[in-house]
Symmetry: C2
Subunit: 347 residues, 2 copies
């Protein structure tokens, strides 16, 4: 398999991206890479070009660029060229740590939607804490769409199911709808409609509404929500975890010698705690609902996160997730059309 990489995206590009790709190349013998970017800059960091091809990109989409406009106008940018390579089939997946909006736009407009999926959704895998038999869950959408309809959230459940099954290898994943209470009638009219659609779907193992307080406790294997709420919840979890860690640090620093000595003895434990909350270990955010893997990592990603994310992309391809999802949508075209009509008529 071949992965098209935006070598210029992210705060530490191209250095950390190139180093991460070399780590991945050494870890995964079956993966080839195309690095899109400024050839001279990439060569500065590339030690060994075995299974790594450099493709010159004259332009770069900056973090500050207006995403859709940038993708339309910067035709020679590393993002557009990498996404185009996937569209044309010379690469199997697209990876970038760059401008999120531009990556989503490139996925949507260049790689293209799976026929039957109305809106792709962005997925992140998050840790589950202190639960036997579950160490992570998937949340979708975490920000691809700020304005989400009933049909979109219903389709997120289908996509999330295939991701949890094929990539996270969860058998018959439990799907939960993020809501402001567990009762079936919680939330606004749209949430009640989504709840009833999922409850009625025999192909979905729906566990009902889940509250954000219970996500890290393993309330579900797949949590579906609109992109606005999902984004807010994801960033709340991130921010709170970071605040707790800094709170621990400062509290210990202000607590005198005994505490400092105690902290020394806990060094390994604290390291483990940081690791458990670091969800970059699960790779990046995946745009589900497009024809090939489009995966985005934090702009602050270092080489090891890049490598983890390549491992994740490799798993998506090897697991046949996207063809399987595609086949399901084709086989169930009539049911999915009936659901669309039922939503329209209920308006």
């Amino acid at each position: 398999m071949k992965i098209a990489v935006d070598a210029m995206g992210g705060d530490y590009a191209p250095k950390e991206v190139v180093e991460g790709i070399e780590l991945a190349r050494d870890a995964y013998a079956d993966v080839e890479f195309q690095l899109f970017g400024q050839t001279d800059q990439i060569k500065k960091y590339l030690k060994n070009d075995d299974r790594i091809q450099i493709v010159q990109a004259d332009e770069v989409i900056e973090m500050g660029d207006e995403p859709v406009k940038a993708v339309r106008t910067k035709k020679q940018s590393s993002i557009v060229l990498a996404a185009t390579a996937v569209k044309e089939g010379t690469a199997d997946a697209f990876f970038s740590a760059g401008n999120t909006g531009a990556i989503l736009a490139a996925g949507l407009f260049i790689v293209g939607r799976i026929k039957g999926i109305d809106r792709p959704g962005l997925t992140t895998t998050l840790p589950v804490i202190g639960v036997k038999n579950q160490d992570k869950f998937v949340m979708i959408d975490v920000g691809a769409n700020a304005d989400t309809k009933v049909l979109n959230i219903y389709q997120y459940a289908l996509m999330g199911k295939y991701y949890a099954q094929n990539v996270n290898q969860v058998e018959n994943p439990r799907i939960g709808l993020l809501n402001n209470g567990t009762e079936a009638d919680k939330g606004d009219m749209n949430h009640r409609k989504v709840h009833d659609l999922l409850a009625a779907d025999k192909d979905i193992n729906f566990v009902g509404n889940v509250e954000s307080r219970e996500l890290l406790n393993g309330a579900a294997d797949v949590v579906v929500t609109d992109g606005f709420t999902g984004n807010a919840v994801l960033k709340s979890i991130e921010g709170t975890a970071l605040s707790m860690l800094s709170l621990i640090k400062t509290t210990i620093m202000d607590s005198g010698t005994k505490a400092k000595f105690g902290a020394l003895m806990l060094k390994d434990a604290f390291h483990k705690i940081g690791g458990s909350m670091d969800y970059s270990q699960y790779g990046g955010a995946v745009l589900l609902g497009v024809k090939a893997p489009v995966v985005k990592t934090h702009g602050s990603s270092k080489a090891d996160t890049v490598k983890n994310t390549i491992g994740q992309i490799r798993q998506i391809i090897a697991s046949n997730m996207i063809p399987d999802l595609n086949q399901y949508v084709v086989d169930h075209n009539d049911e999915l059309q009936q659901i669309k009509d039922s939503i329209k008529s209920s308006k």
Copy 2:
């Protein structure tokens, strides 16, 4: 001042409620109490009835009762009778640790809205970590309304401003709109409308869009959002903080003698950390936009939280917050009407 207390609400009622009220009575010489509930049960725990009057309530609204229906039908319940005492002016505020929906319904339908405020919003005060000159912020709405309009969020900013000013004593509080990015054009159309309304309002110290990742870092003194997102964010912060604390505990327990010994030395530090994240220290959730303080604490509240919450209610009354807010709405009736019209016409 006199506070009407639902003595039967909460997991540990009436015991912890009664004990908390006695603590508050002893702490605040200027506060009197009316305890609504089953007289015989209350008397079991009441040591000294100085400034505490018991009012018999034959019915109890259970946690599982359908809120609006319960408030309409259980006329002799402690919640309805306590709220009615406030409506009739025999008490100045209403406190309960019971059924949240029923408390909100009693506030809305019995105590009543401030004229000019279209929808009351539920407010919670949360901690800010590791920032000089800011130890907390206010979020509104955290769940009174699952279906929120532009006008409501705009009015939350006004209410939140008065709460931060009068109760948290923040001068010229910074108001932020919770959004999925800091740029002015983030979010859906409604968020852009709210953003522009707040930016144009000379009486609001608007700091723009804030992301949930930055809330505990003190992004604003008042964070306004729709009740659905606010509820999800609040519960994400709670859940993540709890998961982190349990993660620390289990990691240490699995880390052998050295770590356990280190943890012993850190006991005080950990205690302090738990305290910093425990926002019950700031009291309960306040329904803003009604004619008198209507305050709700966690169903799991113990006596000390009940006491803290009474201190908070005392501050709301003493600070004149509600009359001040009311006066502002009266004085700016024309501007507020213009804003309503502008929202309607922009549809």
